[in-house]
C-alpha cells in the first residue's frame, strides 16, 4: 500500500520531467537563434570596419592588390575578393570546418562558423568581403542545456519529496487523529464520536459525514438490541403457556402412549426454544452492560460446583474430570456471569468429549483452561459466532460459546481456542494486557 502523497509525487515528477525535457530543444533553438543573430550583426560591423579602414589608408590601386593579398593571408576570419559588379545582395551562411591546428593545439576537431558575404568598395572598385566567426556547435549547446535542465529537475524532485514529507506530517495530522478515533470506535459502547474542529474543508465534510454515519449506526444498533430484548421478553409468555398446556395435556386420562411420546418431543423442543431465548436475553444484557458488579471471584469453588451440577452428564458419558488448581488468579467481576461462563465451557467440553475420556481443567494465577479429546480441529473463526454450526454439531448449542466469549470480552479477559495433541482446549486469559 502506498500512501496518498507518494501517489501524487509520481505524476508530479513525471510532469516535471516532461516539461523540462521539452524545454531543452526550445532553449536550444532560442540560444542558437540569439547566437546567430548576434554574430550576423557582429560580422556586419567587422565588414563595415574593414571597408572604412581600407579606404582611410588611401592605398593606390597598384598597391591595393598586394595589400589585399596580404590581408587575406593574415586575417583568417575574413577574405576579400575582387568582383566586377557589386553582389545583388548580402548573404549569410553557416559552415563546419576542420580545425587545421587541431593536431597542434587540441580543442574541437570540427568548428562551426557563421559567415557573412557583402560588397565593399575600395578606391571605387568592388570587392566581395567574407567574414566568418566561430559559433558554438549545436551539440555542445544542447549538451549544456540538458545538463542544466537535469540539475533543475533533480532540485525539483528533491523539493517535491521534502515538501511531501513535511506536508504529510502537518496537513494530514487531523486526518490521522480522526483515523485513530475511528479505530478505537466500538459499536456496543454506545458512545457517539466527536472529532476535532478543523479549518480544512474536506476534513470538515468528512467529520460531518462520519458523525452522521456513526449516530445512525448507533441508533440502528440500539433499536436492534431493544428489538432482541423485547422479542425475547415477549416470547417468554407464549413459551410458558405452551409448556404449561402440555403439562396439563399429559394429565388427560384418555392419552395414548403415542400421544404421550409426541408431547415429550414437543417438550424437548420447547426446552430448547426457552433456553435459546434466555441466552439471547443474557447476551443483550451483557451488551447493555447490565452486570455492573465487580467483586472478587474465586474460580475454584465455582468450577467445583459446576462439576457437581453436571455430575449426571459426566457419569452418563463415563467421563473423568481432572481439576488442577495450580494457583488462584486475583480477578473481579460478576459471579453470576462467571458461573455462566464456566457452565458454558464445561458443558461444551462434556458434549464434545468422547465417552470414557478425560476432561482436564487447569487453573493458575493467570489462566483457566478446559480441554477435552477430539479428532479434528474446529474452525476457530466460526467458533465464537452466534449460531455458528461446527461440522459435528448435532444439537447446535449455538450460543454457549458466544456467551462465554461475550462474558470474557465484558471482563476484558481473552478467550482462545487451541487444538493440539488431539485435544480441544479453551483458555481464559485473565490479564491479556500483561502477557
Amino acid at each position: 500500500m502506498k500512501n496518498l502523497l507518494t501517489k501524487t509525487l509520481t505524476p508530479f515528477t513525471i510532469y516535471a520531467f516532461i516539461v523540462l525535457a521539452a524545454s531543452i530543444p526550445v532553449y536550444f533553438f532560442l540560444v542558437d537563434w540569439i547566437w546567430i543573430n548576434e554574430l550576423d550583426e557582429n560580422n556586419q560591423l567587422i565588414a563595415q570596419r574593414v571597408e572604412i579602414e581600407f579606404n582611410e589608408q588611401k592605398i593606390n590601386t597598384e598597391k591595393l592588390k598586394e595589400s589585399i593579398d596580404f590581408w587575406n593571408e593574415i586575417q583568417p576570419g575574413t577574405h576579400i575578393d575582387y568582383i566586377e559588379k557589386p553582389l545583388a545582395k548580402d548573404s549569410t551562411y553557416s559552415i563546419y570546418r576542420q580545425n587545421p591546428y587541431y593536431e597542434k593545439f587540441g580543442g574541437d576537431k570540427v568548428n562551426r562558423f557563421r559567415g557573412y558575404i557583402t560588397t565593399i568598395q575600395i578606391n571605387d572598385q568592388h570587392f566581395a568581403l567574407t567574414v566568418e566567426t566561430n559559433v558554438e556547435e549545436t551539440e555542445e549547446t544542447v549538451g549544456y542545456i540538458a545538463v542544466v535542465t537535469l540539475l533543475f529537475f533533480i532540485v525539483l524532485v528533491l523539493g517535491f519529496w521534502l515538501m511531501n514529507k513535511r506536508l504529510s506530517k502537518q496537513i494530514w495530522k487531523p486526518f490521522h487523529r480522526t483515523l485513530d478515533r475511528l479505530k478505537d470506535f466500538q459499536l456496543n459502547n454506545q458512545k457517539q464520536l466527536t472529532f476535532e474542529k478543523t479549518d480544512i474543508k474536506e476534513f470538515h465534510e468528512l467529520h460531518v459525514a462520519l458523525e452522521k454515519l456513526i449516530s445512525q449506526s448507533l441508533r440502528t444498533y440500539q433499536s436492534q438490541k431493544e428489538f432482541t430484548e423485547n422479542a425475547s421478553h415477549e416470547l417468554q409468555t407464549p413459551l410458558a403457556i405452551l409448556k404449561q398446556k402440555l403439562d396439563l395435556f399429559l394429565q388427560d386420562k384418555q392419552l395414548t402412549e403415542e400421544q404421550y411420546t409426541l408431547v415429550e418431543d414437543m417438550q424437548y423442543s420447547l426446552s430448547r426454544a426457552a433456553r435459546l431465548n434466555k441466552n439471547l436475553l443474557l447476551l443483550t444484557k451483557i451488551e447493555n452492560e447490565q452486570f455492573q458488579t465487580k467483586k472478587p471471584i474465586d474460580p475454584g469453588p465455582i468450577v467445583e460446583e459446576t462439576i457437581d451440577m453436571f455430575q449426571d452428564f459426566i457419569e452418563g458419558k463415563v467421563l473423568q474430570i481432572q481439576f488442577d488448581i495450580q494457583g488462584i488468579p486475583a480477578i473481579k467481576g460478576d459471579s453470576y456471569l462467571f458461573e455462566i461462563l464456566i457452565q458454558n465451557l464445561l458443558i461444551n467440553a462434556i458434549r464434545h468429549a468422547q465417552p470414557s475420556s478425560t476432561i482436564v481443567i487447569i487453573l493458575n494465577e493467570t489462566t483457566l483452561s478446559v480441554s477435552n479429546g477430539g479428532t479434528q480441529a474446529l474452525d476457530d473463526k466460526q467458533l465464537f459466532k452466534r449460531f455458528a454450526k461446527q461440522h459435528d454439531n448435532r444439537q447446535g448449542a449455538g450460543l454457549g460459546l458466544a456467551i462465554a466469549y461475550e462474558i470474557c470480552q465484558y471482563n476484558h479477559w481473552q478467550l482462545s481456542y487451541t487444538y493440539s495433541q488431539k485435544r480441544h482446549q479453551f483458555t481464559i486469559t485473565f490479564f491479556p494486557q500483561i502477557i
Binding site: 421478553h233 417468554q236 409468555t237 413459551l239 410458558a240 403457556i241 405452551l242 409448556k243 404449561q244 398446556k245 403439562d247 396439563l248 399429559l250 394429565q251 392419552l255 402412549e257 404421550y260 411420546t261 408431547v263 415429550e264 417438550q267 424437548y268 420447547l270 426446552s271 430448547r272 426457552a274 433456553r275 434466555k278 436475553l281 443474557l282 444484557k285 447490565q290 451440577m309 453436571f310 449426571d312 452428564f313 457419569e315 452418563g316 453470576y336 457452565q343 458443558i347 462434556i350 458434549r351 448435532r394 444439537q395 448449542a397
Partner: protein, 231 residues
C-alpha cells in the same frame, strides 16, 4: 395421620389469563383451592380480606409491580409462602425478591409440576416448622433431616433421589414427563445432552430402594417414559 388437615388456599396473581388458568387447573385438587387476581388492584383487594397458604406473584402486572405487592404483604406479619414468578431471569430481581421476603423465585417458562413441588415444599416449611414429616401408607419423609423410612426400615437415598421423591410427593396422581424431571434436575442445561438416560437411572434407583424396603409400588412408569406417584 394424614398431612393435609385442611384445604390449602393459594392465590395466583397473574395477568396472563392462559397461564393463570393452567395453574388453577393443575393445582386444584382435594388439598388445594386456588383463587386468581388478574391485576394489582384485585390482588390488593384479596390479600386485605383473606389469608392464604401460598401466593404466586407475577412481578410484571399491568397496573403495578409484584415487588410493590410483596412490600405491602410484608408490612404486617403474615405467614403466607410467597413464590415470585417472573419473565425476567435477572439476578437482581431474584435477590431483591428474596430479600423483601419471598420464599422462592421461578422464571418463566416453567413446568407446572415444578411449581407444584415448590408450593408443596414452601407450605410444609412455613406451617410445619418443627416436625416437618410427611406420611403416606407407612412411608415417612422427614423434610428437615432429609431422611426416609418405611415403617421402621430406614431407606438411604442420595441427594438427587430424595429430591425426586419430594418432587413426586408434591405431584401426586400427576403424570410427570421425563423432560420435566430432566429440567428439574439439571435446570437450563437439560436439553444440552442427547438423551435423558440420567433421569431414568435416578428414578430406577429410587424405585429399587423403595421396593427393597418393602413399600407398595407408589411410583409407576407410565406411557413408557413418564412417571406417576400413586397414593
Amino acid at each position: 395421620m394424614i398431612s393435609y388437615i385442611r384445604m390449602m388456599k393459594i392465590l395466583i396473581v397473574e395477568d396472563e389469563i392462559h397461564l393463570a388458568d393452567s395453574m388453577v387447573r393443575y393445582l386444584s385438587n382435594e388439598s388445594y383451592r386456588c383463587e386468581v387476581a388478574y391485576n394489582y388492584a384485585e390482588a390488593i383487594d384479596k390479600i386485605s380480606y383473606h389469608t392464604y397458604d401460598c401466593i404466586l406473584l407475577d412481578i410484571m402486572l399491568p397496573d403495578g409491580s409484584g415487588m410493590q405487592l410483596l412490600q405491602e404483604l410484608k408490612k404486617e406479619p403474615r405467614d403466607e409462602g410467597i413464590i415470585i414468578i417472573s419473565a425476567k431471569d435477572a439476578l437482581d430481581d431474584r435477590i431483591e425478591g428474596l430479600h423483601i421476603g419471598a420464599d422462592d423465585y421461578l422464571t418463566k417458562p416453567f413446568h407446572l409440576p415444578e411449581l407444584a413441588a415448590r408450593i408443596f415444599s414452601i407450605i410444609r416449611r412455613k406451617q410445619f416448622q418443627n416436625t416437618n414429616i410427611v406420611h403416606q401408607d407407612g412411608l415417612h419423609i422427614d423434610l428437615l433431616a432429609k431422611t426416609v423410612r418405611y415403617n421402621d426400615t430406614p431407606i438411604t437415598l442420595t441427594k438427587k433421589e430424595f429430591d425426586l421423591l419430594l418432587f413426586f410427593f408434591g405431584n401426586k396422581h400427576k403424570v410427570i414427563s421425563k423432560n420435566t424431571l430432566a429440567e428439574h434436575l439439571s435446570g437450563d442445561f437439560a436439553d444440552m445432552l442427547d438423551n435423558y438416560d440420567f433421569v431414568y437411572a435416578h428414578v430406577k434407583n429410587l424405585k429399587k430402594k423403595l421396593a427393597e424396603a418393602g413399600t407398595p409400588s407408589f411410583l409407576k412408569t407410565i406411557y413408557g417414559s413418564g412417571y406417576k406417584w400413586e397414593a
